[in-house]
């Protein structure tokens, strides 16, 4: 099952037997996978499965109890090589920060002093805004942009330094169907063009179908990884959840449902039915 993820060139990211314990609870239990350049991987799992914890462990924010995270074979965090879009970013509408300011901070926000205005800096920022389709609202305050527009700006912030690894935590939450599609296409396009390994967390596998190459399914702290059709199956998910769940494919979409029928372990059946607000 791991074959699909580890074949090819040196992996950008290798996670080996990663175990993370938070407040005495094993949140991640011997999770292993690898990501290669130019690929999109979905990190799927219900709320509380440990998706955010896994991304934070990759970033070095959570110390693993055991196991290792290797970036290009090195067991150390190389910040310039990771772009990150956190979950639930809530910008105050009055925050005096234009989209272009946030993208500029992605370029050199860790440097001391002020950013001296230069043609080179401006060109890089314009190019990053252009690449995510954010040129039209570059001068608006980030807190006054729609959810989809904010995601674009955050992605520009994350990729302006040309990282090899791009981590996106629930970038599709609170987006309507159209913005959801646009963000998925944007991330897939960036990953292919720039040879980035993109890891996209979401509780619903369906929006990523067609755009992702591989999937990592998290449940009860354990992970199954591989191609979509290898992982999203009744056998694999039942073994992960530790009880019988049915995986159905209806009109090309997955429905994951507990055997008793009263508990949906995946929001995919309900989330698409009702239009979501921006």
């Amino acid at each position: 099952m791991k074959r699909a993820l580890t074949s090819g060139a040196t992996p950008v990211l290798q996670v080996e037997e990663l175990t993370v314990v938070l407040a005495g609870r094993v949140v991640l239990d011997k999770v292993s996978f690898a990501l290669t350049r130019g690929s999109v991987t979905g990190l799927i799992g219900p709320n509380g499965a440990g998706k955010t914890t896994l991304l934070r462990a990759i970033l070095g924010f959570e110390r693993p109890r055991s196991g290792a995270v290797r970036h290009l074979g090195i067991a150390k965090r190389a910040t310039a090589r990771i772009g990150y879009v956190p979950q639930k970013v809530a910008f105050d509408p009055d925050l005096p920060l234009r989209a272009r300011d946030l993208v500029g901070l992605g370029l050199d926000g860790s440097h001391l002093g002020f950013a001296l205005p230069s043609r080179r800096r401006r060109t890089l920022i314009e190019a990053a805004l252009e690449a995510v389709g954010a040129s039209g609202f570059a001068d608006k305050r980030v807190g006054r942009l729609s959810g989809g527009e904010q995601q674009r700006v955050l992605i520009a912030h994350a990729v302006i330094r040309h990282p090899e690894l791009l981590l996106l935590d629930e970038p599709l939450a609170n987006l309507d169907l159209r913005s959801e599609r646009e963000i998925v296409d944007l991330v897939a396009g960036l990953a292919r063009e720039r040879k980035i390994a993109a890891l996209v967390s979401t509780h619903d596998v369906n929006p990523l179908l067609g755009a992702m190459d591989n999937v990592i399914y998290l449940a009860r702290g354990r992970a199954a990884s591989g191609g979509v059709d290898e992982v999203i199956t009744t056998e694999v998910l039942s073994s992960l959840y530790g009880r019988h769940v049915d995986v159905l494919r209806v009109h090309g979409r997955f429905v994951v449902s507990a055997a008793s029928g009263d508990l949906l372990v995946d929001a995919s059946t309900t989330s698409q039915a009702e239009p979501r607000e921006q």
């Binding site: 970033l59 924010f61 910040t79 310039a80 990771i82 990150y84 956190p86 970013v89 910008f91 009055d94 925050l95 005096p96 920060l97 234009r98 300011d101 946030l102 901070l105 992605g106 050199d108 926000g109 860790s110 440097h111 001391l112 002093g113 002020f114 950013a115 001068d139 608006k140 305050r141 912030h157």
Partner: protein, 302 residues
């Protein structure tokens, strides 16, 4: 025209040494507080700024008892309070606010005692009132070098930390991913805040220090879209309010036959409040105009 000039700039305004000191110290304090205030508001640390101001009263009254510069008292107590607040509240925003409240409560008890001693010691309420509400015309010219040094320190810190501080104020996780040592930046900013509040307390008093810290910054944030502009606008509002207040307070001496002038602090705080109301009005008119102009919005409305 010349009548208006004489009405506004009363006799002796430009030749009075107390006015000179007040204008210089007031401007430096206003710039420091307003600029630090922009980051304070962006970081959601207004409550910490307010608490540091209130607690400054303990330092100011202790300094009055000991006969040392009030600035030393304000900075000293601020440093103690900042260390206490960050040691107790290191687990997120809510925790931070709770710790700030607890330290504030304890500190105000001490303040009460010291102010009581001040009042009984000097048998007037003068010292206590000036610690709490400031008396800009009574600022000793000898404090000027310390005020200049403190302002220079702030300018250096904020200039050097500008981008990492901005990024970690917007979102600390993004800063950490880029290799910013967020804890160090936060601790440094707390130091900046202590000095800014101390300067502010020196001019408008401990209780009103928060108005100079938060007021111009909040107004600027309503008006400006980018951080650089917000900082410039905040500094302009702070200095403008302070200088205008000095002129009005000086004038007020001639307003009544008894020649009892009104305190500068009253005018500073009032002018800052007026500026805030005007900005609020402007930005609500602005957004209404924008709504009318944006065809996509009117379509969804109709």
């Amino acid at each position: 025209m010349s009548a208006l000039f004489h009405a506004l700039f009363a006799r002796g305004l430009f030749s009075n040494p107390a006015v000179h000191t007040a204008a210089i110290v007031g401007a430096l304090a206003a710039i420091s507080a307003s600029v630090a205030g922009v980051f304070t508001v962006m970081r959601g640390q207004s409550f910490a700024g307010h608490a540091l101001g209130d607690l400054g009263a303990a330092g100011g009254s202790a300094a009055a008892l000991l006969g040392i510069s009030p600035l030393v008292g304000f900075v000293g107590i601020g440093a103690v309070a900042a260390v206490a607040m960050s040691t107790l509240g290191s687990h997120g925003r809510r925790d931070r606010d709770v710790a700030t409240g607890v330290v504030l409560g304890a500190g105000l008890g001490v303040t009460g005692l010291l102010l009581y001693l001040d009042t009984t010691h000097s048998s007037t309420t003068g010292a206590a009132v000036s610690v709490m509400f400031g008396s800009m015309f009574a600022v000793a010219p000898s404090t000027l070098p310390a005020v200049v040094a403190a302002t220079g320190f702030l300018a250096l810190c904020l200039g050097a930390l500008y981008r990492p501080l901005l990024l970690s104020s917007v979102m600390s996780e993004l800063a950490a991913v880029q290799g910013v040592r967020v804890a160090l930046v936060e601790a440094s900013f707390l130091g900046v805040l202590v000095v800014a509040v101390a300067l502010s307390a020196l001019t408008v008093g401990a209780v009103l220090a928060t108005a100079l810290l938060i007021g111009p910054a909040a107004t600027a944030i309503r008006l400006a879209r980018s951080p650089g502009t917000a900082i410039l606008v905040a500094a302009a509002i702070g200095v403008g309010s302070t200088w205008m207040a000095i002129i009005l307070a000086y004038d007020s001496y001639y307003w009544s036959a008894s020649h009892s002038g009104w305190p500068v602090s009253f005018f500073v705080v009032s002018l800052i409040f007026v500026a805030y109301l005007v900005a609020e009005l402007l930005s609500s008119v602005g957004s209404r105009l924008a709504t009318h102009r944006d065809p996509s919005v009117s379509r969804t409305l109709s």
